[in-house]
Subunit: 312 residues, 2 copies
């Protein structure tokens, strides 16, 4: 059934206020894609996220294929990666920042810069026809991904073209998705900058040590969590946060003089006290908490020299 | 005139796609407040932004007062600051995170925790009656500000209460405003963290030196820009970016050993070469550009030892 304007309005309004309640990036993108498809009556759709010069499938939804699966089962899609080049449809949109509204992907003129790769249709046993693809652009005009809706349907369920009226709606959702992706990127960037600065401080040792400690921390966490019966999704999320936080456990060492930090002999008592200050000096850097990463990183920096019983 | 549902939908859709095109925080908040007021037919409204334990007026709009001014002139409001406490309406919303939909601010029950401060009405010669106030919450559940719409009007221009139907609309716009404020905060946080780390490295000198250089840079820029006839708004924006960037001009010094950095005597040739590397090592920290701050900071870090003619 085609949505009325009032239905659309209600959906859009509801999503707007939900976006601040949901923390999880994947759940947010899943919701945005679902709402975009609902509003323009699309059978299927995807969100791709940019990773360097590639696009990665982040969300894939397809009502027709989903209906063929047992209840509760999700569509399985390998994490396809597409090189960003104007030759593919999503790559064209990502590299030019333009919108593509294609009535029939099997009837793209031969002289178009992009063409449709029918490999995915063959693999999925699906027939893609109409396709509306828009870039996910940030306010600094960077493309962070692509949102694509596939096979618009009329009131009788027949596949039709996407209307030019549909474009502003999809662009609205693309705007939401871009903001959310940008926020996630900045959250990571904040810690990555700090890691880079800490590495500059001590390039020979820090890099290797930091990665070693992060790997140990993640290993320890994983076997502890598995024994406690934590779900795999939960484990994966925490693992990511913990890895970043653990990489910053020694960040407070920027405050310690080389004379102490690199002293080949034993510390004097005074030097030892100064050395120990790297824990709370490090933790203090995260006072202005921007995300859950900062919470965890602060705790790790403060307590990474403690014993299990709180002494140390 | 009361908006139809279709009008509202079009406004909301348009705003969603505009949000990624506009870079400027004030312009964005101005647009969001205007759209919120239009959709719920409010005569006036404000956006407050949180600064520590205070709220600062960021946007003030009032159609009645505006109509009394000569064309082109804006409402002048001193930058009021309100302590965040449950005693004021905006403070209550900011501290509890609750919505307040008040039919008549002059009829708030005496036992309510909050009360209306009629001082602003007296100052502005305005009569506030109905008021809908919602928090601007981030996905980490922090309140970063408050959005308030004032004096809903019916089709005949009479002041009426805000309907419960209006709340989701205002919350939708509040969601947009929160995301935008959070993005702006993270942009600043990214640089402030780096400044804090650089200060840890050399707490005695860095803090004072950094502020001195930033002030010189801003002074120089201002008189240069004024002579060129740059607008005051433009100058103020650039000044803010330049100040942050200038504070990071020496950030690459985290890479330089204390043995060189704090050497009381003259550098050897080798030491001097190492010392000079703080320019490009610093600039490299901003490679993964997150905002215009990073562009400027990278340039400042790289070129701050150059002469005007490019030598140095």
């Amino acid at each position: 059934m085609k949505k009325t304007e009032v239905d659309k309005l209600q959906e859009i309004i509801r999503l707007g206020s939900e976006l601040v309640d949901i923390q999880d990036l994947d759940i947010l993108l899943e919701r945005i894609l679902r709402e975009s498809r609902m509003v323009v009556n699309a059978d299927a759709g995807s969100i791709y996220v940019r990773d360097g010069d590639e696009l990665i499938f982040s969300q894939v939804q397809n009502d027709t294929l989903q209906a063929q699966l047992p209840p509760g089962q999700k569509i399985i899609f390998s994490t396809f990666r597409v090189k960003i080049s104007p030759k593919s449809i999503s790559g064209y949109v990502a590299s030019t920042g333009e919108i593509l509204n294609i009535p029939d992907v099997y009837a793209i003129p031969a002289d178009a810069p992009y063409h449709f790769d029918s490999k995915y249709d063959t693999l999925a046993k699906y027939k893609t026809t109409s396709m509306l693809t828009v870039p996910l652009k940030t306010n600094t005009n960077d493309v962070v991904g692509v949102l694509q809706v596939i096979n618009a349907r009329d009131d009788f369920g027949n596949v039709v073209s996407f209307d030019w009226n549909d474009e502003p709606f999809v662009l609205h959702f693309a705007g939401m998705a871009s903001m959310i992706l940008q926020r996630a990127q900045m959250t990571r960037a904040l810690l990555l900058r700090m890691i880079s600065m800490a590495e500059l401080r001590d390039p020979k040792e820090t890099g290797a040590h930091v990665n070693r400690v992060a790997s140990y921390a993640v290993e320890l966490y994983e076997s502890w969590a598995q024994r406690r019966g934590t779900s795999q999704t939960e484990i994966e999320k925490n693992r990511d946060v913990l890895r970043m936080a653990a990489m910053l456990h020694d960040v407070g060492k920027v405050a310690i003089s080389d004379l102490i930090l690199k002293k080949p002999a034993r510390f004097t008592d005074d030097e030892y006290e100064i050395m120990k200050s790297h824990t709370f000096l490090g933790a203090r850097l995260f006072t202005d908490k921007q995300s859950v990463f900062d919470e965890v990183a602060s705790t790790v920096a403060l307590t990474h020299h403690e014993n299990w019983d709180g002494t140390g």
